[in-house]
Symmetry: C2
Subunit: 527 residues, 2 copies
Amino acid sequence: MELHGKNIVGHERSAEGTVTFRALAPGRDQPLDPQFHEATDAEVHAAFERAAEAFATCRRRRVDFAPFLECIAGEIEALGDALITRAAEETGLPEARLLGERGRTVGQLRMFAKVVRKGSWVDARIDHAIPDRKPIPKPDVRRMLIGIGPVAIFGASNFPLAFSVAGGDTASAIAAGNPVVVKAHPAHPGTSELVGRAIRRAAMAAEMPSGMFSLLHGTSERVGLAMVRHPLARAVGFTGSLRGGRALFDAANARPDPIPVYAEMGSINPVFLLPGALAGRADAIAEGLAQSVSLGVGQFCTNPGVVVGVAGDDLDRLTSTLRERIEETAPGTMLHRGILEAYERDLQELDGSSVVTLEARSRETPRRERTEAACCLLSTEAGDFLADRRLSREIFGPSTILVRARSREQLEAIAAGLEGHLTATIHGTEEDLEEHASLVSILESKVGRIIFNGFPTGVEVCPSMHHGGPYPATTNSLFTSVGTAAILRFARPVCYQGFPDAALPAELQDENPRRIWRLVDGELTRE
Amino acid sequence: MELHGKNIVGHERSAEGTVTFRALAPGRDQPLDPQFHEATDAEVHAAFERAAEAFATCRRRRVDFAPFLECIAGEIEALGDALITRAAEETGLPEARLLGERGRTVGQLRMFAKVVRKGSWVDARIDHAIPDRKPIPKPDVRRMLIGIGPVAIFGASNFPLAFSVAGGDTASAIAAGNPVVVKAHPAHPGTSELVGRAIRRAAMAAEMPSGMFSLLHGTSERVGLAMVRHPLARAVGFTGSLRGGRALFDAANARPDPIPVYAEMGSINPVFLLPGALAGRADAIAEGLAQSVSLGVGQFCTNPGVVVGVAGDDLDRLTSTLRERIEETAPGTMLHRGILEAYERDLQELDGSSVVTLEARSRETPRRERTEAACCLLSTEAGDFLADRRLSREIFGPSTILVRARSREQLEAIAAGLEGHLTATIHGTEEDLEEHASLVSILESKVGRIIFNGFPTGVEVCPSMHHGGPYPATTNSLFTSVGTAAILRFARPVCYQGFPDAALPAELQDENPRRIWRLVDGELTRE
């Protein structure tokens, strides 16, 4: 399958611009063919114009999006090895990981197809009229969620499939009934094109109007900002850096009509080691931590960047095992040179601090030409950590900093001083947990997910998952970007008052033809 | 009951500042005693510090907020005539209206108490572990909604009870488990103090920690901005002008850590008259419109500011009846001089346009000293309306503009050109509605609530109500400020992974001790 390097605007290829770029192969440090055409402002405009038309058409026709989502999953699978090969070249990620990620990607698409088929996600509510209520009659009022309109989505570099062109944002936005305009991440434009073409084929097979999907390329901020500022864009989904996410958030809020930005921007995912766990499982925790820290070369947003424990023999033992494991960890190829350079710069800055000790790093020397990063373990004292906010900054890559607390109070002070994060992890016995209920209570207001005796990497895709958290983990702590609840980001309630039954959407008709769960006169029912 | 004119910070009175102001009696155009003390920055800070402490305490103690909400309702009722008398003086609203509004206010508080007692609002979701799942075990994951933290709430001038100190924002924020810091509207500071003292008494009776409620006074923007910018504020609820709401929204988004602002900022609530309705019920619709336009001297956010119909004899008949009814409508006292002056200025500007005709105004002359406004009917042609955006601006007060369309296309073009609004209304026969399905489809993306054969004023407080809409109706079209779903603005999901049952909140424990509805392994159940 030859790549064409063009944008996909609705069902059409488009390459109006003169600016082009090529992907780099991080494992080889050389550009890959073909050249990709950066989208022009006119192409951004065309994508949103078509998206708005497609949205209106689908609303009028009350289109069912489940078949489209399933078709996308099938078309991605049909890409076969070509997709995995190109993704591996562009990202440096190993094949096994990419196969797993493809499984997750098609799994998410099919999960959202199921959510659409079940139909209860629309949170239908019906309150019947009471014409003889005093002093005034009660009207018949019904509401449900509908799509918000065209959504601008930004592919993430660290999940070239599951959080990119056909990733969770795209799947949930389409499931809610919205067209999407996706900005391909410039680090994997070929992977993006392959997936984009799969979606285009699916759109045609599922008889979607042209405009339900567009894919735009670009290395500059211009394309992304033009998307967020476009008058027809109704919401934004983004996974990436704090700098990038905040820039889009600010642009969206500066619009004459601000639109919501759901940006997931990273996290240090603190791990708290309570005494019972340290006493009983120091080695096992160290093994697990080393794996979690180095997983995907530390390029997960749930990477555990800070480990806090009360100083003592048990923590020393854990540290010593962790040191060994980190040294044994082979350097890994990072997604692109920019990420590697930022990682090294951040590490150097931390290492340069007089209060930070470099405990260990991969014994093997990273190969520069393969864009490799060494795994690192740093350490510091809780007092120093509390005094210097720079020590708690996220370092994107395979490193973590061990913080030695002198007391339970210091442990809690660290928790209380945290900014918002995606996750926090507690290792402890059940007695520890009971004893440290106040720690849990503090963390509940700081993070989106609290893990007990596990590791933060590995985000289960299910209805109860919450992958989100207070700022700066995300720009909106009320929503998740993983799991079925992600659909709620792209839907808004509409209320129908006094409508004749036949004029209502099926979800709100008396007969409940879709057999969905509804809140009828205050009670949940499927009748 | 003598008013003290002080701020209420936690359980204490506070008057540290030297800036004072008095309320004006719009019906008499003279200041009322006592003097009120504008809150200082230190008082704002103290209120949020206490609120954050109260939030932490309540989270730790897993406090039940239903009794507090019910106590507030009881204490407001116990204020008796004193509240109604003061509110009537400060707002110029008639006693009957204020009695109704008090009923709605205590009704809302009790409704949210019920929501809290029922408990299912937390949207609990449980996915059980599958330890032997391949390739990796599935962890036990559970999530629910919890309070977001201290909420800054701004009392609205046009609902001195139902959207003020103990209004819907306060009730829903507390129901979600949050302390509130309320900014009293300076047009009714005495009413605010009375209600604030009732809440304070309720907080003490329900053994709430000091800080669950604070009330701050101020006429300047400084107090409000200091609240929104305070580092411990976690969300903002506001009902008022576009200018005011946008200023708070911008300030909240410019924070180092942006917080959500739920601002409900008004709407022109367009009314579409379809041919069948015009032919069959022109007079009845005119009667209803005149009442809806003049209700509360036009100071409802759901006031119908634009009426669109296809020109012809039927529309002429409706216009003629409407003209009579408007002329017969007595001028009414507006909430304060500022609102009256803005109303007159806006009307004058519109009346000055060469394409607008003044069809009718209250025959009786408004008394300036009573801050009275005349009811007005204007008219224009659809072509002119479409060409000049100023004609579709909200005029806050008892006026409406009748727009004569020449075709169905023009009618739909007007709908398509609308900004976001709270409501749209359609008058028609069932055949009209079927015929104009595309109009409904357009309006679904423009407004939060579509009313068929009714009038937009009168917002039912129930689970299916959606009082919201795309910008500029609100700053967040995903949420409602009226009805039980309003609680969702002030709660965020937290996910617990691998927790022992005893360490989980009751809502997520296996036994389901609270008997709430939960999504367990993808299925809704109460077991």
